[in-house]
Amino acid sequence: MNAYATHADDHHDHHGPAPGLMRWVTTTNHKDIGTLYLWFAFIMFFIGGFMALIIRTELFQPGLQIVDPHFFNQMTTLHALVMIFGVIMPAFVGLANWMLPMMVGAPDMALPRMNNWSFWILPFGFAMMLSTLFMEGGAPAAGWTLYPPLSLQTGDALPFIIFSIHLLGISSIMGAINIIATIMNLRAPGMTFMKMPLFVWTWFITAYLLIAVMPVLAGAVTMLLTDKFFGTSFFDAAGGGDPVMFQHIFWFFGHPEVYILILPSFGLVSEIIPTFSRKRLFGYSSMVYATASIAFLSFIVWAHHMFTVGMPLIGELFFMFSTMLIAVPTGVKVFNWVSTMWRGSLTFETPMLFALGFVVMFTIGGFSGLMLAMTPIDFQYHDTYFVVAHFHYVLVPGAVFGIIGGVYYWLPKWTGNRYNEGLGKWHFWLSTIFVNILFFPMHFLGLAGMPRRIPDYAVQFTDFNQIATIGAFGFGFSQILFLILVVKCIRGGEKATDRVWEGARGLEWTLSSPPPYHTFSVQPVIK
């Protein structure tokens, strides 16, 4: 791609935003909506993190200390739902809103009014979800997977949690449709598919995953609703149904969903590493094909979440081998990131630090995933803290580090100011040290047999649990640094240049920092 295409944005035919609060409620501007998404995700990050700290505080000692077991289960359930649907997914959509139009040279998102609606469903959906905490019988406590028959014992919260999931699903589907339409229809002339930046590619594929599986989740929770209130027996053996059927349907959604939570971070890291290596991305096309392969495989591996449920042997074998296949395209990606750095002229600004942290620690999560993929071994690990360690490694120092790295990478572009690099480095090192103190001991706990979703445990697990809790508080409070840094950066600081980073390539860097309200109203031509 020609990164230095004509500086095509025009200052004459655009209008500024409407003043006041209504600007944010009625905006159709992709930058405004991106900002809304990112702040929403940031607020939810602290809410979900607060829940995590309640969990970790209870687990600091064996025995029951501060919460009763039912409330503990509500916290594990809501922590997951908030972090998945309220933090990682909105943060990705926010980054997509801000960056995709600028990266492909588009004047805005393809369907700007629907874009507004995608965002403005979210606060309502989460208000509904969090309101269940105050209902008769409390919030849902059966885990975010909502397995029946346990989830059907939820009190008044059940229909509310189901409808809030419907709302979030509607929002995600509309967001995904918008992203696909933008990428397919609004690319600048000359920007062929194989010239698109990797973040655009990974989001393109993620959007397809979203459209394919969010309706599946909607169907699954609809069946829960009708089983509870309308007498159907989808998940009731007495009527010829099967509770295991819910698990199959749920994980047919759930496994693509976990790639929805990681693929855009792959894209972010693939933007950041080349910039700070001052080299082109190694193996661009293999990155694209690897992403597509991972997306395809995500549809045929779902039952590895349920090896212990009692499937026929042939099923166990199929899902074991298909799962292990995922290591191949993922390995291609890690190899390419490392090879991009090979003989590069490296510098270690904060976005690069987070990207490197991502590569190392995501890979740890990938390896523990391979261990879990092996059916006979999974029989031991299933529903233990080993699983908790695994998915937190891929989601926190994986997905979340990718997001934070992306925010640091583009923050000077968005605000026009450079952030405080010293504070950023503190944020990175504190986060990295504490996230490992938090999650690494969980591997040992799981291997030793500590089950997940349990408020109490046998005394021999105390030491590692206390270490993990210390890590949790350290990690949680380190994020306040990030909040301070972002606010300071918005309020002022050293002015950023248009290109911001010496090694940066791509259309977004041809725009001023901060970019005007409307960009690329006349599209650049990519040679």
Binding site: N29, L111, F124, A127, L186, S233, A238
Partner: protein, 288 residues
């Protein structure tokens, strides 16, 4: 896509309808949830929300139709609408796939396991040893009052003919638009809408027959899959027929030119989609 720089892409200014839609959806769903929990106020909230949603749809689509008629949209914007509608329909396909999946799972796996197939032999002997129904079934617990079987003859077969014919009439209307034959557009659309609502009516007749025979959503897995699949399909037919009704009124008011009539095409795509889903239902729910 295009290799030359294009004109100005239409980016609308402030949109007031989305937030109205969010409030409407929240009222509908929150009210319904409260209703399910036994609250007397719940249904009132739902009704207010539904009215608000209708207002929102009129307002939002009205704005888009006015923009379209005033020539705001060029082929570039048109393509975004096409992509949006196509992928929306794909998401609907996946929604139906779940319920078809539940049907296959029950028929191919869970019911045979309850009957003792595979490793289910002990379950069968110990728990459900008198259970012997293959399909249709209301389960080993003999749930509901009946295991009435919905045959494919005569109503479902008639409905198949009706829907397929409506696919023909909507295509006829489309050809009429392309040659700008106004009378044929209106007649074709009218016939399509009429056939669509006739389908929904006959589906209602069939449901009443089923209820009289004691078959409901509570009649085990057969009743569950039957009513959920045909019920969601019926709702989608109704929605598609409403879309086409709007197109009919727009056609009467002189909208649509041979070159520009995407709204009609979107409704027609949707109509073909519910048509194809019905064929799946007819085969897997009624015949097999």
């Amino acid at each position: 896509m295009a290799e030359v720089a294009r004109g100005h892409y239409f980016v609308p200014e402030a949109a007031k309808w989305p937030i109205v839609g969010s409030i409407a959806l929240t009222l509908i769903m929150g009210g319904f949830a409260a209703y399910l929990n036994g609250s007397a106020l719940g249904s009132k909230f739902s009704i207010v929300g539904f009215i608000l949603l209708v207002v929102m749809l009129f307002g939002w689509f009205g704005t888009v139709i006015r923009e379209s008629e005033s020539g705001t949209y060029q082929p570039w914007e048109d393509m975004s609408f096409r992509l949006g509608m196509s992928w929306f329909i794909f998401s609907e396909v996946m929604f139906f796939a779940v319920f078809f999946g539940a049907l296959y799972y029950a028929r191919v796996l869970s019911v045979p396991w309850l009957l003792g197939e595979g490793t289910g032999i002990e379950t069968h002997l110990q728990l459900w040893n008198t259970y012997s129904e293959i399909w249709p079934t209301n389960g080993p617990g003999d749930l509901g009052e009946s295991d009435f079987h919905m045959g494919w003859w005569p109503l479902p077969f008639l409905n198949t003919i009706i829907l397929l014919s409506s696919g023909v009439t909507v295509t006829w209307a489309h050809h009429a638009i392309k040659v700008n034959h106004r009378a044929q557009i209106i007649i074709g659309l009218f016939l399509t809408v009429a056939l669509g609502f006739l389908f929904v009516y006959l589906q209602g007749v069939e449901y009443i027959e089923a209820f009289h025979a004691g078959m409901t959503l509570s009649s085990g897995i057969y009743g569950s899959t039957f009513f959920m699949l045909t019920g969601f399909h019926g709702m989608h037919v109704t929605l598609g027929a409403i879309m086409l009704t709007v197109m009919l009124f727009r056609a009467i008011r002189g909208h649509f030119t041979p070159e520009r009539h995407f709204a009609f095409e979107a409704a027609a795509w949707y109509w073909h989609f519910v048509d194809v889903v019905w064929l799946g239902l007819f085969i897997f729910v009624y015949i097999l």
